[in-house]
Symmetry: C2
């Protein structure tokens, strides 16, 4: 029983023994995750898991369980889960299981503290500050000056950018609300992440005032369309405030033409935010940047940063000066208490695993990892671009690791284009995906986009993946799709 563990008297030994048994379960899981003879997942429907699988009961009860049962529960939790670190898991951009990052998370949870004050997180607060500065240097802001914070995910980081832009141009909204500002509009690509729309709805702009920009055939924003829509909004009496450009879009991996967009933002005095997948481009002209190390850099979830070029503006935007946390009469330099810059109060320590990975790999290690992923995507692209049974969703070499394609089963290959073929093709990817999950051999994402029916979206970010895993994926798609 829990009662024998620390802080119980003589609790040391049972505690260490329990933790080591847990670690044994976890290290076995880690070993198997990298073993290609292990399945990616052991799929069950919700009702199956809810009914209970031999000895695994999800229901909570009034009475305690034994420690043995707790260990069984942990084994079962892993057994019925999905191995996101498996070399053949390609379902999301956050994939892979970095061992240093994992160790960093174990330490973070052991330290169990809170980023809101230097007082209780001195080392982590400084790590965050130094890491943010380094990131700002890398995107090209002079001397790495500026502001920033780690937040619980890219959607919240994007939300910060909209809030800060609003505060920059209409600071009175903080105290008086949106009625103190004119009708504001935000711009983002029709291919951009849905988080900008969510931010627009949440922050009181309204999702209809998030204006979607047309893209070219590669999914890149057309600058002339941005300018036309700015002019149109102004003519209708709206005030354009903010443009989100994407450097690595979710589906196509497209890079919006940032310099041309920056020119337009300068001309019309708009805030330029860039939602950024780590690569090599400079973003000197952005006013703010969302950078998610939990994507291409392979840092365990959650790890997302909002970076802002103007120093001090985050505190201006968000501070409320809570007396019980941010006492001005502390004995240390209280400018290190960053909590009042955040919309959160308690804030999880997301920095340590990232800092530790950076120490262990160096900047060059991250670059090598990204290069390797780009190479693998290129390999996949070359493999299927002229292969029978495949059609690419857009022409040309992908700009990032995203490779978007249709698999055309033999039964559809001779069929003329038209509604019937489209409807049938639309059902191919979901069927193959369902078979993949049920057999548990691999996972890859699919979706429709605009008027394009369901296609596979391959993304490579998993450091464990090799060319043989790409080959395996293609074999599986063909094996499963052949008779559709």
């Amino acid at each position: 029983l829990t009662a024998y563990l620390l802080p119980a008297k003589n609790g040391e030994e049972p505690t260490i023994q329990f933790l080591l048994e847990m670690v044994d379960i976890l290290t076995n899981y880690v070993k198997k995750t990298f073993d290609r003879s292990t399945k990616v997942l052991d799929f069950h429907h919700p009702h199956q898991l809810l009914e209970g699988m031999e000895g695994f009961n999800l229901e909570l009860s009034d009475q305690p369980e034994s420690l043995e049962q707790i260990l069984v529960d942990c084994r079962d939790t892993l057994k019925y889960g999905v191995r996101t670190g498996h070399p053949r898991f390609f379902n999301q951009l956050s994939s892979g299981l970095d061992i240093i990052g994992l160790a960093g998370e174990w330490l973070t949870s052991t330290a169990n503290t809170n980023m809101f004050t230097y007082e209780i997180a001195p080392v982590f607060v400084l790590m965050e500050q130094l890491t943010l500065k380094k990131m700002r240097e890398m995107i090209g802001w002079p001397d790495g000056e500026g502001d920033g914070l780690f937040s619980p995910g890219g959607a919240i980081s994007n939300m910060y950018s909209v809030m800060i832009a609003r505060y920059k141009y209409f600071p009175e909204v903080k105290t008086k609300g949106m009625s103190a500002a004119p009708r504001l509009v935000l711009f983002t690509s029709e291919h951009s992440h849905y988080s900008i729309k969510k931010a627009g709805a949440a922050l009181g702009f309204g999702s209809e005032n998030v204006i979607l920009l047309s893209t070219d055939e590669r999914g890149r924003v057309i600058p002339a369309d941005l300018e036309a829509k700015i002019i149109d909004a102004k003519q209708k009496g709206y005030v354009p405030l903010f443009v989100n450009a994407t450097a690595g879009s979710t589906v196509y991996g497209a890079f919006d033409p940032i310099n041309e967009i920056a020119d337009i933002c300068e001309k019309y005095n708009l805030w330029l935010h860039v939602d950024y997948i780590k690569t090599y481009i400079k973003l000197c002209r952005a006013n703010s940047v969302t950078w998610n190390p939990h994507k291409m850099m392979g840092v365990p979830l959650q790890c997302s940063a909002i970076l802002v070029r103007e120093k001090g503006i985050m505190a201006g935007c968000n501070s409320m000066c809570a007396g019980y946390l941010f006492q001005p009469d502390k004995q240390y330099d209280v400018t290190y208490d960053t909590g009042d810059k955040a919309i959160q109060c308690g804030r999880h320590v997301d920095i340590f695993k990232f800092w530790l990975m950076w120490k262990a790999k160096g900047t060059i290690g991250f670059e090598q990892h990204i290069d390797k992923c780009l190479d693998l995507s290129q390999y996949l692209y070359n493999k299927i671009k002229n292969r029978e049974g495949y059609e690419m969703v857009f022409d040309g070499v992908p700009q990032h690791t995203n490779v978007c394609f249709w698999y055309i089963p033999p039964s559809l290959r001779g069929m003329p284009d038209g509604d019937e073929r489209r409807e049938k093709l639309h059902r191919v990817a979901p069927k193959i995906k369902a078979m993949m999950m049920e057999s548990g051999t691999t996972m890859v994402g699919y979706q429709p986009q605009g008027n394009k029916v369901n296609f596979f979206r391959m993304v490579v970010s998993n450091p464990a993946a090799t060319q043989s895993d790409i080959d395996f994926l293609i074999d599986e798609i063909e094996r499963m799709g052949n008779d559709l």
Copy 2:
């Protein structure tokens, strides 16, 4: 080097060895944390840590470090941090180090997945659903029906409540923005957490439209003041929308009179949100509740839930239907894909540690823990209420574990009340706190409140704390404060 770890060829052995060395560091840390001969912290100023402590360099570099250095970095990170699980750490409500919760976090980071779809987090998604239902049952909603989500902290949970209330009464704000609604006002206690003001500012209401309610001498909202302010707002042409009641306020631990507030909310058709510290009260009449298991229940940070009585309203409020995540043509029941209810996209798995602790302790285990904390607070209160050199900030037995008091050094005891005494007393708590941190023996919070000068706010939530630790705290305060 990292290069020898998995997924490298023959990486299994070095990986397991590295992880076990890390676990050795962590289990030693755990043992020492519960050992009262260990310091709570080894305080250094920011500039000292930034300059670098023998062998501990926070700067990031281009080149990788050795694995040995990584382990040294981990040891140093813990060495210069704060032991929030130490029996004499009373600084915040989130304190203590629960061994089951810790093991749960280690598993969570090993599974490294994302709550947004059942597809990649089947077990965790179901655990969340069952746990939320159980929580709703406990607060008294019929059959535990309703809606909810775990969010990255109480401030975000409170923000959800405001968004959902706005959506309930003015759903068109989601698409059209705040200009589609009349001028809305929110109400919360002058003693309530600053997160309601932050939410008001962020969501476009404006912080001035968050109206603060007067409290009685115990820090409880005065219902008549709420009603008067509602009437006043209406007369000025504002539309009252939302009342936040606090069940366990941050500083005084006060419980607002929820039933009387609920009567007023019903009368004027306002949304009633309750910001809730786990206790035994029923909250049947609330429309939404924030419940933070990372506070009184001792669950590791972060673990916060927003609970909503009306089913389906969260999706209505927040959904944007991203095609690349929430495909309607999946093979399983996609109502289990909860991601579109959230303002986040990626969402960290906060449920598992809580679920595992619930399994290990049972509901009764949590109740016993809270009883123990209340007993200890009572012990502190009884010890100091008539002791020479102490003044209580408010009269009577605390409603929760908060005990708020001034320590009066001998030099101030004969001094008549007045500005001079107030100014001197204001400096006492910060000075004692600084000495505590520099000697590293214990930590307790302090702050001013309204016209009351700096006082100590003791909160008990740490399961490792005993009466002897309370005695120790008082001895330390007297030892350090005696000559001030």
